[in-house]
């Protein structure tokens, strides 16, 4: 238990930055709401009907991500605590940004109930990026990262909906790709090569309880993914299709991932981290096309491919990638969200082309737009991620030193009973 008894001078105290930064952010947000935002309190029946789905997404984002990230045995408090912090801050920030970019009405920036839902969903990329840098940043850095990531993601959505005439729903589905590659870029600049030392490897180990908490978070995400893939759709037919198709894709990716996990292990044993992460890949990949597919076998195939991609890439590339490019991806968001997201985006374009409609020209155009959106998202996320990562290296933010990685101890008061 040496790590608990280190003298406090080795830990970079956040007392001089954290409280004031957080308070400033909060008061700033309050002032913006007070002076620059109008709220539309007229009754919105559609919203109330959507309230159960909104709660599903709430559970998925807060409990799901918080506990999914709790697999590091000494980083549980931070995983859960910082997730709710990022959601609480990011939600306000996202609502403000959406009001400024999308909410113009009669010369005012208007928010309404729908803004709450959009805001909550916009927090997703920040949480995915948190997964990539998990255990390697302090809460001040995380808050700054969220503060930088949100405007770029909202801008990305603005460009897509405004100039590429993509719907609200599809633009939001790029959150997975955006969050994953933004997080990987930040992580690239903030995890030094020597970081995979033996001591840190040990701390990255899990224990049964933390793995069960993590599985518990993953199950919540798995269960409520159909709500996530359908809540923004206005058309009720599309909505129920999205629920139906997503469920099939999720089920298939579970079975696939179990199979691959046993196959790639020398003794034929399953790995909890494979199962936990791979089973979500189906939901990510099918997000783009779930609303329009008319045959369950197509979504099942997407789920199958997503499960394969996620678990095979994780097995064969994670170690190589970590070593070669020095990108350390703690939670493996590249394999949960990044690659399945790309797969989903490409499949979406292919499905549009293969649809046997008459107007093949329009479809071809749509398919190209689909690919364009992915490239735009990749470019914006990588560039803004690199810039953010560069800024966050600044000593001002007191980044935790390497031997404090993957630990709650620098951030949380703890009794020493354990």
């Amino acid at each position: 238990m040496v790590w608990l008894k280190m003298p406090p001078r080795y830990t970079s105290s956040l007392r001089q930055t954290l409280p004031f930064l957080f308070l400033c952010f909060q008061i700033l947000s309050l002032l913006i709401f007070m002076f620059l935002i109008s709220s539309d309190y007229s009754y919105d029946q559609k919203y109330l009907q959507r309230y159960p789905e909104f709660q599903d997404i709430n559970v998925m984002i807060i409990l799901g991500f918080g506990f999914l990230f709790a697999f590091l045995k000494r980083f549980g408090f931070s995983a859960v605590g910082f997730s709710i912090l990022l959601v609480a801050f990011g939600l306000q920030w996202a609502i403000i940004l959406n009001a400024f970019l999308f909410g113009h009405k009669d010369g005012l920036r208007v928010i309404s109930f729908t803004s709450l839902c959009t805001g909550l969903m916009s927090v997703l990329p920040a949480l995915i990026s948190f997964g990539a840098v998990l255990g390697k940043m302090n809460p001040v850095q995380l808050l700054m990262m969220t503060a930088f990531e949100m405007p770029v993601f909202t801008l990305n959505r603005y460009i897509m909906t405004k100039y590429l005439t993509i719907g609200d729903h599809i633009s939001m589905m790029h959150a997975h790709i955006f969050g994953a590659y933004f997080g990987l870029s930040v992580s690239w600049l903030n995890s030094s090569p020597s970081q995979s030392t033996k001591a840190n490897k040990e701390k990255e180990n899990f224990e049964t309880t933390s793995e069960l908490f993590s599985m518990f978070g993953a199950l919540f995400m798995w269960m409520f993914w159909p709500s996530y893939n359908s809540v923004l759709l206005q058309d009720l037919v599309q909505k129920s299709n999205a629920i139906y198709n997503t469920y099939f894709a999720l089920a298939v990716s579970v079975v696939t991932v179990f199979s691959v996990s046993a196959l790639v292990n020398q003794e034929g044993k399953l790995q909890m981290s494979h199962v936990r992460n791979g089973m979500l890949a189906g939901g990510v990949a099918v997000g783009y096309s779930a609303f329009m597919v008319q045959y369950p076998w197509i979504t099942m195939t997407i789920g199958f491919l997503a499960g394969l991609t996620s678990s095979l890439s994780r097995t064969f590339f994670q170690r190589t990638l970590n070593k070669v490019s020095l990108v350390h991806d703690t939670c493996g968001v590249h394999y949960i969200f990044g690659l399945p997201g790309l797969l989903g985006g490409i499949t979406y374009s292919l499905l549009i082309i293969s649809a046997d409609y008459n107007s093949i020209e329009i479809l071809g155009y749509q398919a190209i737009v689909g690919i364009g959106c992915i490239l735009l998202t990749l470019a914006l996320s990588l560039v803004s991620g690199l810039i953010t990562g560069f800024i966050l290296k600044c000593k001002l933010f007191r980044p935790p030193s390497e031997h404090h990685f993957f630990q709650d101890q620098p951030f949380w008061e703890a009794t020493l009973t354990r």
Copy 2:
């Protein structure tokens, strides 16, 4: 930690069977969906209204069962992991079976949104049976067990709805009885007498954390049981009655079980396993009649009797039954689902008879049909369970040897930090 260091040759590696079997199953299911099933994607408004209840059942079945079974301190990964596996596979299999038996429409086998809900609910018996053989079978055996159990359960429902003119809802309520007795039969043939050795007894012990996880699963089941008992009902009056009555029965069985648990203990102490299991008995027992009872005190009495039955039978018979008949019932599904299910079925028939309608003849007939359904379910589940149990003993499936019972270690890759 001797059990962690056993040489791998003692563990029956699943690498040669598990991945290929799972892949085969998944590809087969995909092909069936591709070539033999039509999907009705027309809009089904009723389904979308039922979506919150569907999600409740989703939570109940996936999180509820997964964590309810996580009480064995060294079997947590398997309990949670294999539950989601069985659901993901069983759901597809059940949808296929239901399409073949119930889904005929214009010469095609059609599935729709309702099939998703029915499919999910049909997985219940497989999970209950999993509870009876918990820790004594490998995932390949569990998958085969599910593959064998589903067709018989669907056939059982087909006979009941087609020839005994029982409604969809009531036919589904036999899942508890079917699952429990099927599981007990399988367990009878697959747990050898010497299995209750000291070493296994030790492994069957729990610890605080695993018990809390298990309680957590049980609470989810408790809370969402009203949704389970009402989701298939079409009539909105019956539906709200079912919710209302189920809630009362559940509340009463909690208080009853606490009382009995303290009464049967020498020092007046409560037992977590009593409370956890007994509190669900009320929901199981009232499932049959919740939609039609017109006085809360009747449902409360059913809940009271179910709580008594469950906790008293568990206390007095479990050990005796284990010794005499050599049936080892790890989770006690006989006391959670089996006996309360029988109680509920019998009460249902009695309530039909006692209803003061004019047409006493029809009611008498219905009551006889009710008893007939129970007997049919018992017969089919016991016989098919015995056959399945016999097949699963086959060396081909590499059943785990006795000293690997109740352990994650043969199936899951684990770091040795704990």
Copy 3:
């Protein structure tokens, strides 16, 4: 592990009281339902529409409180187990009381689906009081406490709705204040000064797992608080406003609490207990006024103040208060529910006054009534709490001796593996 091996004569066995008391209560309740209560089984469409919110509150009350209280490392079984027990008993008792006071219709005491929801919400004060005496009472005392508290709370609501013409919703929002001060009064008489001995301090410590379980409960409460603050509202506009405003207040109080928690710690570290408790304060405080506020910045300010109040008062006053007044408040319900509740009540009155309506006289009257309701609730809760606390000290109930505080061991059968 000395505490596990104490001879049973030191533990006050509950075998002679607990089972019989619980059974009596249950049978009494059954008889009251049988002979004195009529049930309105006619179809209530509004109820079914509200079913998802009802389930949210169910989760919040059962899982939320149960696991929120599971932070004591040796009291997890009791926290979760006694919560569900209090809910299961309290619900029946509350429905009976509500039927007698509010349910008169055609000379009968009628209950309907709405009664289930009101009953469930009426259990809240009992659970809050449980938080104040957590670990210091046996289940018999807890049941008696609930039995005494419910009638006074229902009477309080009756006086408010009948004579002070306050709506159902606002009257229910006083549950926080009532529960907190009732619990503090009971705790004052039942926790002796010497109780903060070193041994008990040690037992009050937490460990990572129990804290995560507790955070998990708190997150469920956080997520579903908008449902709690809106479910009783009939007007759909008010309802959606309440959801919207509550969410903002909750988000702001999270960021505020993180900030204060780091500020008050010498090393700038966060404290899980601060975060866990403070983040709920926003929801409590905004409960009164969420339905009528028309600007999000007002609710955000309330959330900000509630977060400040909760975490600052906890930091500076808890130890002092414990020492001076000898009130030991295990879970800190005073800071989660008591003070934020008072803040919310006062803000509500201020907001009514500041509303720029024409009829300023009526508004002034309403504001005075608002203050009057708070004073009434305070008076009733303190007086009835003192009386209840005095009764519960009686030897008849075999209160646990001091060295058994904060332990599952006197109440739960446990294997000694840990």
